[in-house]
C-alpha cells in the first residue's frame, strides 16, 4: 500500500504541473498528434506516380511510338519532355526537370525487324533513391513486357509458330513476383507505423527530462518509488499520444493493421514507459536543463536511423548493431511494422522483456544518483 501511495504522490506532483506548465501538454501531446496528422496527410498517396519522364525518339517509327506510348499510359510516369538528343535529356535531369529518360535509337524498328537487336537506353537520376527505385522497377517491367511481345511476333512471323507456341518459346521461364506484406509497395504503410511513434517519442523525453528538480527528504528505498511515479506520469502521457497516433493511422489514414490493435497499444505503453524512464534518468543525472534536453534529444531523435527502421541494421557495422540493441525503439519499430503489415510479430517476448527490464534499470539509474551522491537532499536545504 505504501508503494502505491508513494507512486501516487509522485504522479500527483507531476500532474499538478499541468495546471501551470502548458508546455507539457503542448510538447507531449499536441505537437506529436498534429505532426502525425501532417505526415499521414503528406504520405496519403502512398505510391509515387507521375514521375517526370523525358524521351528521345530517334526512330519515330510505329514501334518506337508504341514503346513511348507504353510509358505514357503507365501512371508511374508522366511524359513531360521530348528531347532532341541524349545530351538534352541529361541536361533536363541535371536541372531536375525530369527524373528518368528513355532513349530509342535511330533505325530501332528496322533493326528489330532485321534481327539486329538494337539497344534502348534508360537514364535515371540516381541522386533521389526513393523516386528512382520506383521508376527503375516500373521501367524494367514495361520494357520486358514490350520485348517479350516483340519476340512473340518474330517467332509467329518467321518460324510460323502459333501464338501459344511462340509465347512458350519466347518465355520458357516466366517469373512471378510476390511482394510480401506490402503488395502495393505503399510508402505510407512502410513508413508511418514506426515514424508515428518516432515523432511522439521526443515529446515524452523532452518533458520528462525536466521533471527532477529537487528531491524531498526520503528514505533511500522510497526514492525508487518517487522516480517510478514520474515514469508512470510521463509514460502515461506518452502512451496516450502513441495510442491516439495509432488510432489516427488506422481509422483516419486507413493504414491496414492486420494484427491486434490491443497488442499494438500494449507494446506502445511499454515503449512509452521505457522512454519516460530514460528521460527521468537523464533528468536525475543532468540537472542543467538545456544540457539534459540536448542529451535526451541526442538519445531519441536519431532513433529512426540508428535503430534500423529504414536502413536495415544488418547492413551496419558491429558497433552500430550492438548499440542499437540498447535503443528501446529497436525493440518496438520492427515489431509494430510486422504487426501492421504481417499481422504477427517475430519473437516479441524477448523485446517485451527488454522494454520492462530497461524501464526498471533506468528507474534504478535515476534513483542511484541520490543513493550514492546526493542522499537526503531536501527542497529547503539545497536545490539540485
Amino acid at each position: 500500500m505504501k508503494v502505491v501511495r508513494l507512486l501516487y504522490e509522485s504522479f500527483l506532483e507531476e500532474s499538478k504541473k499541468l495546471k501551470t506548465d502548458r508546455m507539457i501538454l503542448l510538447i507531449a501531446l499536441i505537437i506529436p498528434i498534429l505532426v502525425n496528422l501532417m505526415v499521414g496527410w503528406e504520405l496519403s498517396k502512398g505510391v509515387m506516380d507521375h514521375i517526370p519522364l523525358g524521351v528521345v525518339d530517334e526512330d519515330n517509327s510505329p514501334l518506337s511510338r508504341q514503346l513511348v506510348q507504353y510509358f505514357a499510359d503507365n501512371e508511374t510516369f508522366a511524359l513531360t519532355y521530348y528531347a532532341q538528343n541524349q545530351e538534352e535529356l541529361q541536361e533536363l535531369i541535371s536541372h531536375s526537370k525530369i527524373k528518368a529518360g528513355l532513349v530509342i535509337p535511330s533505325h530501332f524498328s528496322e533493326d528489330v525487324t532485321a534481327l539486329r537487336s538494337p539497344s534502348v537506353l534508360m537514364i535515371y537520376d540516381g541522386s533521389h533513391m526513393s523516386i528512382t527505385s520506383v521508376a527503375k522497377a516500373k521501367a524494367s517491367e514495361i520494357l520486358l513486357t514490350m520485348r517479350t511481345g516483340a519476340a512473340i511476333k518474330q517467332l509467329e512471323g518467321r518460324l510460323l509458330m502459333t501464338e501459344e507456341e511462340a509465347y512458350q518459346t519466347a518465355m520458357p521461364i516466366a517469373f512471378e513476383t510476390r511482394t510480401l506484406y506490402n503488395p502495393a509497395k505503399n510508402f505510407n504503410y512502410f513508413m508511418t507505423p514506426g515514424y508515428g511513434t518516432i515523432i511522439c517519442q521526443p515529446g515524452i523525453g523532452l518533458t520528462a527530462v525536466l521533471c527532477i528538480t529537487s528531491m524531498p527528504k526520503r528514505k533511500k528505498q522510497d526514492i525508487l518509488h518517487y522516480m517510478g511515479g514520474k515514469v508512470l506520469f510521463y509514460g502515461g502521457l506518452g502512451s496516450i499520444a502513441f495510442i491516439i497516433n495509432i488510432l489516427v493511422q488506422v481509422f483516419l489514414f486507413k493504414i491496414p493493421c492486420r494484427g491486434s490493435l490491443f497488442i499494438a497499444f500494449f507494446f506502445s505503453i511499454l515503449l512509452a514507459m521505457a522512454v519516460a524512464a530514460m528521460a527521468v534518468a537523464v533528468s536525475a543525472w543532468m540537472p542543467k536543463r538545456t544540457i539534459a534536453i540536448a542529451g535526451i534529444g541526442l538519445l531519441l531523435l536519431p532513433n529512426s536511423v540508428m535503430a534500423g527502421y529504414t536502413w536495415p541494421l544488418l547492413s551496419m557495422s558491429a558497433f552500430y548493431q550492438k548499440t542499437a540493441y540498447l535503443i528501446p525503439f529497436y525493440h518496438y519499430g520492427d515489431n509494430i511494422r510486422d504487426l501492421f503489415l504481417k499481422g504477427s510479430m517475430q519473437h516479441p517476448l524477448s523485446d517485451i522483456l527488454f522494454l520492462i527490464l530497461f524501464t526498471l534499470a533506468m528507474v534504478w539509474i535515476a534513483a542511484s544518483k541520490f543513493f550514492f551522491f546526493q542522499p537526503l537532499l531536501t527542497k529547503e536545504d539545497k536545490p539540485l
Binding site: 511482394t179 528538480t213 544488418l314
Partner: protein
C-alpha cells in the same frame, strides 16, 4: 558597418566563453555527420541477402542461382529445402528476398512449356524491395532469354546469332547518373547535414538572442541581430563545410557541384531560418521552452522538406502550407542537388528567391513581435534571466 562589426566581435567574445556554445557551433555538425555517416558506411543495397529454394536442382536451376550469386546486388546466403523454411527466413528478415525454383523446370523448358520462377520480395522496406525487384527481374529474364535462344536455335535450325536476336528483339540498358550504386549514404547524408545545420543554428541563435534581449531591443536591433545570426551561421557553415569535405574525401560521398553556390544558398537559408528562431524566442522567452519546441520540430521538418517523400508528390494544399511556414523545403533538397548533381544557378534561383521572399516577409514580422515581447516594461532582462534560472539553472549553459 562599424557597429555591426563591433557587435559581431562581442558575439564571438561571448561564444568564446561558453563551452556549451563552442561544442554546439564547432563540434555539433562534424560529430553528428560522423555518427550518421557511420551508420551508412556499409553498402547493403549491393549485397542483399537472398534465400533460395531449388526444387529442380538441375543444371539450369543452378545456373539461375549462380546468376544471382554473381550479381553484385545479391548474395545467396541461405539454401533452404521447404517452402515453410523459405517463408520463415523471410519473416525473420534473415534474407530480404526469396527465390523459388519449382520442380521440373529443366524438363518443362526442354519440352517447350513455360515454367514460373517465383521471386518473393520483402515489401516492408519499399526502397530496398524496389531495387531488389528490378535487378531480380533482369536476371530471370536473362536466363529465360538464354533458354529461349537455345530452343529457337533448335526449332528454327538457326545460327546462334539469329536465334539470339529473335529471342531478344531489342536490348535495354540503363545508366544511373550521379550515384550509380544508388547508396543510402549519397541519398540522405547531405539532407541530414542540412537538418543538423538548421537545428544547431536554431539552438545557437536562441542562446545568443536570449542573452541580452533588452539591450538588443533598445538600440541597433537589426545590427545586433545580424551580428548574432552571422556569428552562429558563420561558425556552423565553416564546420559544416569541413564535415562535407570529410564526407567526400573520407567516405567517398559524391561531390561534383559548385560549393560556392551551396554556400550562397546556405547563407540565404540561415537568414530565413532565423525568422522562426526570432519568433520562437519571442513567444517562449525561455531557452528551455525554445529548445523543447525546436527539438520537436526537427523530425517533422525533415520529413516534410521533400527529402524522404518528394515535394511534388505531396498534397497541393499541404505543400503550400509547408512552404509558407518553414523554409527547409527550399533548402535541403536543392543543397543536396547542387553538391551531387551540380544543379546550375538557373535551377537554384527559384528556391533562392523563395528564401529571400520568405525572409523579406517573416523577418520584419519576427522582429516586430520580438521587440513587442521584449520591449514590454514589465519584462526586464533580469526577470527573463530569473525565469530561466529557476532552481539555480543557468540558461546559457
Amino acid at each position: 558597418m562599424t557597429a555591426f562589426l563591433y557587435y559581431l566581435k562581442e558575439e564571438f567574445h561571448f561564444i568564446k566563453k561558453q563551452a556549451g556554445l563552442i561544442l554546439l557551433l564547432f563540434v555539433g555538425i562534424p560529430f553528428l555527420t560522423v555518427w550518421f555517416a557511420g551508420a551508412y558506411a556499409t553498402d547493403y543495397v549491393y549485397h542483399i541477402p537472398i534465400a533460395v529454394l531449388d526444387e529442380d536442382n538441375s543444371e539450369l536451376s543452378r545456373s539461375i542461382i549462380e546468376h544471382f550469386d554473381k550479381n553484385e546486388r545479391f548474395q545467396v546466403t541461405h539454401h533452404v529445402y521447404t517452402r515453410q523454411e523459405l517463408q520463415n527466413i523471410l519473416d525473420t528478415k534473415e534474407a530480404y528476398m526469396g527465390l523459388y525454383i519449382p520442380p521440373d523446370l529443366n524438363e518443362n523448358v526442354l519440352s517447350g512449356q513455360t515454367t514460373q520462377v517465383l521471386i518473393l520480395t520483402n515489401g516492408a522496406n519499399v526502397i530496398i524491395g524496389n531495387n531488389a525487384y528490378a535487378s531480380a527481374a533482369t536476371i530471370v529474364q536473362t536466363v529465360s532469354a538464354g533458354a529461349s535462344i537455345k530452343i529457337i536455335s533448335v526449332k528454327g535450325s538457326l545460327p546462334q546469332i539469329s536465334a539470339t536476336n529473335m529471342a531478344l528483339p531489342f536490348q535495354f540498358t540503363d545508366r544511373m547518373l550521379y550515384d550509380p550504386q544508388m547508396t543510402y549514404m549519397n541519398y540522405l547524408i547531405y539532407g541530414f547535414v542540412a537538418v543538423f545545420f538548421q537545428q544547431l543554428l536554431l539552438s545557437g541563435l536562441a542562446t545568443l538572442i536570449l542573452r541580452n534581449p533588452q539591450e538588443t531591443v533598445k538600440e541597433h536591433t537589426l545590427r545586433r541581430l545580424g551580428a548574432k545570426i552571422t556569428a552562429a551561421a558563420g561558425c556552423l557553415i565553416l564546420t559544416g563545410s569541413l564535415a562535407i569535405l570529410w564526407l567526400h574525401k573520407g567516405m567517398h560521398v559524391v561531390l561534383t557541384g559548385n560549393v560556392f553556390l551551396a554556400l550562397a544558398l546556405s547563407i540565404l537559408f540561415a537568414i530565413a531560418i532565423s525568422c522562426p528562431a526570432i519568433l520562437l524566442t519571442a513567444i517562449t522567452k525561455d531557452k528551455t521552452k525554445f529548445s523543447q519546441i525546436s527539438y520537436m520540430l526537427s523530425l517533422p521538418t525533415f520529413l516534410t522538406c521533400g527529402y524522404v517523400w518528394p515535394a511534388d508528390q505531396m498534397p497541393f494544399l499541404l505543400k503550400g502550407l509547408i512552404k509558407i511556414t518553414w523554409p527547409l523545403i527550399y533548402y535541403a533538397r536543392t543543397f543536396d542537388e547542387i553538391l551531387v548533381k551540380n544543379l546550375p544557378l538557373k535551377s537554384v534561383l527559384p528556391n533562392a528567391m523563395h528564401l529571400i521572399i520568405y525572409s523579406a516577409i517573416f523577418m520584419p514580422i519576427s522582429i516586430y513581435v520580438w521587440k513587442k515581447r521584449f520591449g514590454e516594461p514589465k519584462e526586464t532582462a533580469l526577470s527573463i534571466a530569473e525565469t530561466n534560472s529557476i532552481e539555480g539553472i543557468d540558461i546559457y549553459e
